[in-house]
């Protein structure tokens, strides 16, 4: 079963520069494990040691945020499209600048 996964620029070092790769799995977790077998280290950039999705990573199945579809347990079907993106919503400039102004760290919560 083939699922197309779009990889953000910042993670393409893991996929040999490929913008999109194919993977398999009936859940998001299974898909990421499958991808990690081909692109070692990729899963670790997306999933924390505690086993949850990294706070600043957004993953979408057919354009819908997986956090509202069961997160890593989100069900996948053949032909689904998965998109991985860094968390940067509208007003990205404002986010960064405002956070910096208030002395808030934009570094990850580890």
């Amino acid at each position: 079963m083939a699922i197309e996964v779009r990889i953000p620029t910042i993670l393409r070092t893991y996929t040999g520069g490929a913008k999109s790769v194919e993977g398999a799995g009936d859940t998001l977790s299974a898909l990421l494990t499958d991808l990690d077998s081909k692109y070692s280290g990729l899963r670790g950039r997306l999933v924390t040691e505690q086993g949850g999705l990294h706070r600043f990573v957004n993953i979408y199945v057919n354009d819908e945020d997986v956090r509202f579809l069961g997160s890593l347990d989100a069900k996948l079907n053949d032909g689904d499209n998965v998109t991985i993106l860094p968390a940067v919503a509208g007003g990205a400039f404002g986010f960064a600048a405002a956070a910096a102004l208030l002395g808030r760290s934009t570094a990850p919560v580890r």
Partner: protein, 321 residues
Amino acid sequence: MSRYESLLEAAGDTPLVGLPRLSPAVPEGAPPVRLWAKLEDRNPTGSIKDRAALFMVREAERAGRLRPGDTILEPTSGNTGISLAMVAKLRGYRLVCVMPENVSTERTQLLRMYGAEIIFSPAAGGSNQAVAKAKQIAAEHPDWVMLFQYGNPDNARAHYETTGPELLRDLPTITHFVAGLGTTGTLMGTGRYLREKVPGIEIIAAEPRYGEVVYGLRNIDEGYVPELYDASVLTRRFSVGTQDAVLRTRQLVEVEGIFAGFSSGAILHAALAVAHQAVKEGIRADVAFVVADGGWKYLSTGAYGGTLAEAEDALDGQLWA
């Protein structure tokens, strides 16, 4: 009532209009599925941000954080800057906006017209340069007040106290509310209010998915989630690409005569997705969504004409919502 003491009092209480042509058809005998647009472009400066700007300033005044003659510093090139500029003018404050020098000319002209001062950061440096500049300015002027819309609870409260009640008053049968996700203020405030009053209501976020250029600069370990954001208020969240946003923005004006900005097209795209799902499931739905602003400020992008591919190119690399 349509008489007000000043422009400030005229903010909010925007029309909710049906979209009889864009609402999906249902089979005979099936419950109706209807789309409703809340026209936030009918606010004093033409966007939903008037609500938050007004509320944040009023609450800061009440709390004594903002005193007559004070300077407000806001790192924004968008609608919030324009709303704050208007409110600052009428309430007697000086507004300084920090923005990259490559923002559209409509933005800078509008801000200056309202009396705001603009400090530019070099376009070439991107957001890193802008952040550095903003940091520097804040350090030099510790007495300047930043309202910080991404973490200011009064941003969300504006919607809890105005947008939410207006929607329920005008559409007591509401089943879904769809809005854009930026500061998250609209969704958090309106969403909380509606969840308290309407059992089972769906609160749906539409967030823009930009061209690769925008994300290319971002490190996955250095994201920023607005302090206001509470995922438990939402029931679904959609990512809408540039092409879908442009397509729906054009449909809004071509089919229903509503001339909106691209973020509203993205919101309509998510609204249509849930509406079509309701039709498939045979359930009644009254889907209210936000038209955040009009299309005027985006005409210079050229994305209202030509093919969809051309429009997508025109918006590539831009923060269109």
